[in-house]
Amino acid sequence: MSLDVQALRQEFPILSREVHGKPLVYLDNAATTQKPQAVIDALVNYYSQSNSNVHRGAHFLSDEATRLYEDSRTVMANFINANAREEVIWTSGTTEGINIVSKGMAQRLKAGDEVVVTELEHHANLVTWQQACKISGATLHVAPIDDNGTLDREAFTQLLSKNTVFVAMPHISNALGTVNPIVDLIRQVRTHSPNALVLIDGAQGIAHGNVDVQAIDCDFYVFSGHKVFGPTGVGVLWGKQAVLEDWPVWLTGGEMIASVSYQDATWGALPNRLEAGTPNIAGVIGLAAAIRWFQQLDMSAVQAHEKALLQRAVELGGGIEGLRLVGNAKDKIGVYSFVLEGSHPADVGFLLDRQGIAIRTGDHCAQPLMERLGVPGTARASFSIYNTLEEVEQLFVGLKKAQMMLA
């Protein structure tokens, strides 16, 4: 089954708008994806019909909101093949998810412990661990990449020891699109560092489908809803039940307790113990709508289409003098990061924007990675399922114009 991209585009109202008097070509999907009508409707319906607080009301609407909210958890658990729905913790996004894990881990880390991350890290999965190590006196190791942006597997394995207690790495690099072989890498971790827990930053991985947390065999998989066609401000921390059950609580307050006296409190069961306060109910319901919508698609067709978009970009980019592709891993998806010789990425981004083409420029919240690759930043086009080959072609027509103007 192939992907009917034109039909798909009809479901995204924003894709038919214009910017600067030009039809929008939206190629900033690694920053956030657009929302299909199904998600917009779910948000509007929730606020029009079901708005109420969850888990505590003694009335019809609260029951209805609670059912929608908890059904969403089941939808998400099935989507990522969680072993139990209680393993799905709603967060505000990837950053909060990683912080719940790193702040909890910081309480357990001690001098002599080792934490391993990679050079591909987004700041959210680097600064968190760097700070946890600083507080606790643990050592942070950074697994290197080669000049193409591929993780050096041998070096990664060499960093693993009996003292390694935590490994954090991205499923897919946001800046380069490199897909890490996480199943193999985690196998290495289990062999060499049997006591280590593993967190996968799935912010970029989740939108490409086929995330099976049990097959991956990580301990935590975290992502944001807005990268997978859902609303902003909602995300998922998935963790193995046995690990989450006694994970240090992050926020204390309402909803997460079992009993409270003036001097003491005990924590409730999963998932509530890690979800203090009134959650982002509308966001959760909107995210479930996004997942239901996304799941209807044929994932192999989705991936074939995304591959075709990237391949076309690589072909066309090869014909532009002075264009350097940044990140050329064999296994990559969704991201086309580049620099134009002699031009600042911000100028390239600005001149593309004037032509209706939306990309991102800068360091992509990965300053150490940019430094490692010897660039101040890049221009990054990132693709999603609703992008067309024509749009990729427009990107390069636009780039040629920008290059001419900047000459």
């Binding site: 031009s343 600042h344 100028d347 420029t361 101040p376 103007m405 900047l406």
Partner: protein, 147 residues
């Protein structure tokens, strides 16, 4: 620290504000307008300001350097550069009307209105990536330190 050594002052080699305004007002097409901005960028000498930390303005997506000098007539001269060619050109436009003006004038100068009359008001949104906004703040703060 404000540099008051008048002998080191670069000549301002870019067009005066009035000429810039006329050119931009007669150029409605975005492409031609930004070609003009890029042309202005080319007129800025490469050594207009040393690209060192002391002159760096933080908060811009592309690095920006700004040096302010006081002339013997107690006016201020701005020397600005950026590794973004567009920003470099936009800095010429932004600062043209306050070049060689007394600090008090710069303090009350409305950069927003100036860019609006040039048709470049969208360049001054206070977003994190926007260098010009920070330059305006910086220019005013510097002017204040000379009053």
């Amino acid at each position: 620290m404000p540099n008051t050594n008048a002998q080191n002052i670069h000549r301002i080699e870019t067009p005066p504000a009035a000429e810039i305004l006329t050119t931009l007002q007669q150029t409605p097409n975005w492409e031609q307008r930004y070609r003009y901005v890029l042309q202005l960028a080319k007129q800025v000498p490469d050594d207009v300001v040393a690209r060192i930390q002391a002159f760096a303005v933080s908060g811009c997506e592309a690095p920006v350097w700004l040096k302010v000098e006081q002339t013997t007539e107690n006016t201020l001269r701005f020397h600005a550069d950026s590794s973004s060619r567009l920003i470099r050109g936009l800095l010429v436009i932004l600062l043209a009307p306050v070049q060689n003006q007394p600090p008090a004038y710069i303090l009350t100068f409305n950069f927003n209105e100036w860019l609006q009359s040039c048709g470049l008001q969208q360049q001054l949104t206070p977003s994190r990536a926007n260098g010009l906004y920070h330059i305006c703040q910086h220019a005013k703060a510097t002017a204040k330190s000379f009053t």
